[in-house]
Symmetry: C2
Subunit: 129 residues, 2 copies
């Protein structure tokens, strides 16, 4: 019974964007992509599994770094074309740069002089991606 999977509005590449939100702090940690297999695996193992568009393979987040995302809840939006995961961010580092979250840059500055400024420190220097 995979009716729930068929209800997702997969895009032309068979993917859907998936947001991971820290269940404790509410921080938006990451936006990544899933295909049917990634979402199925996520549900099966209780960890976020994505589809790496660059490597073109399933990506069990944390498999090399130890920074898994334990999935507590899976949500879908009104158009069925976006997924929201409430997760426990194991180790408190969700970004491959070693920061708490991927959204570490904020647009700052006067009109005409905006810049992206890093607002979060690297907690742990990553060994590899």
């Amino acid at each position: 019974m995979n009716k729930w999977l068929d209800e997702v509005a997969w895009n032309a590449e068979g993917l859907v964007p998936a947001i991971a939100q820290d269940a404790t702090t509410g921080e938006v940690l990451t936006l990544a992509w899933m295909n049917r297999e990634a979402l199925t695996r996520t549900l099966e193992i209780g960890h976020a599994v994505y589809w790496s568009r660059s490597r073109r393979e399933l990506w069990h987040k944390g498999a090399t770094s130890g920074h898994f995302q334990r999935v507590l809840e899976i949500r879908m939006d009104c158009d069925a074309d976006a997924i929201l995961l409430r997760v426990e961010s194991v180790g408190g580092i969700a970004c491959h740069t070693g920061r708490r979250r991927c959204f570490y840059r904020r647009l700052e500055g006067e009109p005409g002089h905006q810049r992206w400024i890093a607002t979060e420190l690297v907690i742990e220097v990553p060994r590899r991606r």
Copy 2:
């Protein structure tokens, strides 16, 4: 000076996904899409402006419903291919279905019997999209 705009990794269609998060409650409200013009307009007017992929036009969210998203902060992720907005959700309704947020469905049920269940009530019956 639009260097900050050039730093966004626009996809092949010139778009980037943009998450809107309620600045007060931390709830993830919507995932929509922006092109360069939408992001520029968002910055200029301080309200979220998206690109409607279905209507193929700029979409000033709330222009018909009154449920604007006042933008307090614009963030970008590590790969520069996703935007995060911290917003004030005017009227407390972000979804065109009249709910607080678009992510109103949760996956529930035993393995093999999962279903998407609506967990949020319609606050205001929408007149039109």
